[in-house]
Symmetry: C2
């Protein structure tokens, strides 16, 4: 955040859906620092990532409203008088979306419509920044992936996230509810869900390293990904929320170039000083849905608002490992006593 | 339909959702001719296009099941034992989708998931052909539009139709429920809804011509579109249903090159011998949502299954005008008596 933009949030009324989750809570911390009046909406669905401990440092400086974005009546009330909405609530497990596609639809499609309808009817001057995902691209035709790449989701979650994003663009273009979407790649950092591995691999790998356990990589670990530290993602949301240059647009927000999973995990084990990597055969069912390499080109967003990630992978992993060393018990289930 | 493919449908159990609508009923007629065992599902929602008169010529040669695709239990039963499902049920009014986005979501997203879940759980060997739409492309970057063009819908209906299509592809790729989508452009012909103008302009223009009324064109009528006669679209569905080369793919199905609205309406008035065209200023609200020229490249589908439209615009319009001259009373509300 540059100084000009930072002053934008002083005294601003800001709502964060999914505000107790990984990115939402980090964003909330920054907004409190910048002097915003922050309301968090989160329904604390077990296993989704919402966690009151995430906002422990700023608990008294913001409001928490426990409610579900599927509850259209509550949302209709909550969006009123807000100046910026960071719309981060979502079902993010791809696996869960294939087991229960209806819940994914309700949260990622229908609720997005409710929120936007509420804005259109009760607060059309609000600015909305949606948390999109690189998952909607599916298996890339070319690398790095730009926003000109086809949207071709490979699971129900990706489809519904794509629809949720499109709604924001249509409400911007047709109804003038200013909105944009940040298509996030692999975000990591403190406050990430590490309780299970159904929400992506990086948080899970960090937990395994911190617990001095074995990290399994399929094949030779040569698959490329890009990784972006959560503070940089928070900066991206703050810039998007403050800039009308983003309205009606989608932007990739990713890491600074490709890293192989082999290099990622070796670095992780090195900075942690614990954990180890083992290479295993590709399970057939996983190979069938593998998208190969993926990394994004974020230059469109850089051009629009001057954003650039500042935290390199070594620094980010070091901070993240330290966070979970200090606070792991708040992020994992209590161990079951053996009788 | 070539002879090889035609024999494919003899004795085949076929379900058509939206079977009493425009394309569904024409498809039903052909399938009956080919010797298929046809079940139509339609909920006859007023103003949507379903019309029992559409199947008058084949009423005794098929089964009609009045039910709604939103009714997951009924669909679960109805998909069983079917060999091919032509999945044409949908909310097709763009205007309605912006007034009531939730109904559009229920029909075009949630119901598609229900149908596919029913197939996955109760009839995974079925083949599904989905009626997609060129509307999901939005305002084209380049003409003619190929399937490599970005999906960038401009209204809620386009978004939900895109999601419905993506579900089919994911269920094909992940669960092996063989599916494909035909992205139809401007289809016209007998049995089209002409009761109101909220489902596209061409049926409405045909009605105005038949009723010897004035057709209004915005600006100079230079906008380009492509038009495809319903018999050619029926042939496209039959080919897609019979060919595994289509599985997991999307195909444009459009007319044979661009035609300006000016040329279309002049030809229409000429073949009808009634009606007239008037050019009027663009209304501001319409200009704001105008997508400019649009016409599709259907060569991918031609390569896949050998399809090519056979009915030219003059012949198609002549047949369509004749149909509505003979049967208009079945397609418009009875005139209100003045007291």
């Amino acid at each position: 955040m540059n100084d000009d933009n930072a002053s934008f949030y002083k005294g601003r009324r800001v709502l964060i859906t999914g505000g107790l989750g990984f990115i939402g809570s980090n964003l909330a911390g920054s907004l409190v620092e910048l002097g915003a009046e922050v309301v968090l909406v989160d329904s604390l669905i077990p296993d989704y990532g919402g966690n009151l401990f995430n906002i422990a440092p700023v608990r008294d400086a913001l409001q928490v409203n426990v409610s579900d974005v599927r509850d259209a009546n509550s949302m209709q009330y909550l969006v009123r008088d807000q100046e910026v909405i960071f719309n981060l609530a979502g079902q993010v497990s791809h696996i869960d979306s294939m087991r229960d596609p209806y819940t994914d639809l309700e949260i990622n499609c229908r609720s997005q419509l409710s929120i936007l309808e509420a804005c259109r009817n009760h607060n059309p001057a609000v600015k909305v920044v949606f948390a999109g995902t690189r998952q909607i691209y599916g298996k890339p035709d070319t690398l790095p992936v730009t926003e000109a790449h086809l949207v071709r989701p490979i699971d129900v979650n990706g489809i519904n996230k794509a629809a949720g994003e499109y709604y924001h663009l249509v409400y911007n273009n047709v109804f003038g509810v200013r909105s944009c979407s940040l298509r996030l790649t692999n975000v990591y950092g403190p406050r990430q869900l590490v309780k299970h591995n159904r929400q992506g691999f990086i948080g899970w790998f960090i937990r395994l390293a911190v617990e001095d356990r074995e990290i399994q990589l399929f094949g030779d670990g040569a698959q490329l990904r890009d990784f972006v530290y959560v503070d940089d993602v928070v900066d991206a949301f703050l810039r998007a929320g403050a800039s009308d240059a983003c309205n009606g647009e989608v932007f990739n927000v990713g890491g600074d170039g490709p890293v192989s999973l082999r290099d990622l995990t070796e670095l992780l084990v090195e900075v942690a000083g614990t954990g180890r990597v083992r290479y295993v055969e590709w399970p057939e069912d996983r190979r069938a849905i593998d998208i190969g390499g993926f990394y994004a080109d974020s230059s469109k967003f850089q051009r629009a608002v001057g954003w650039k990630g500042k935290v390199d992978l070594r620094e980010g992993l070091t901070k993240t490992v330290q966070y979970y060393r200090d606070h792991l018990s708040h992020y994992v289930d209590a161990p079951v006593d053996n009788p």
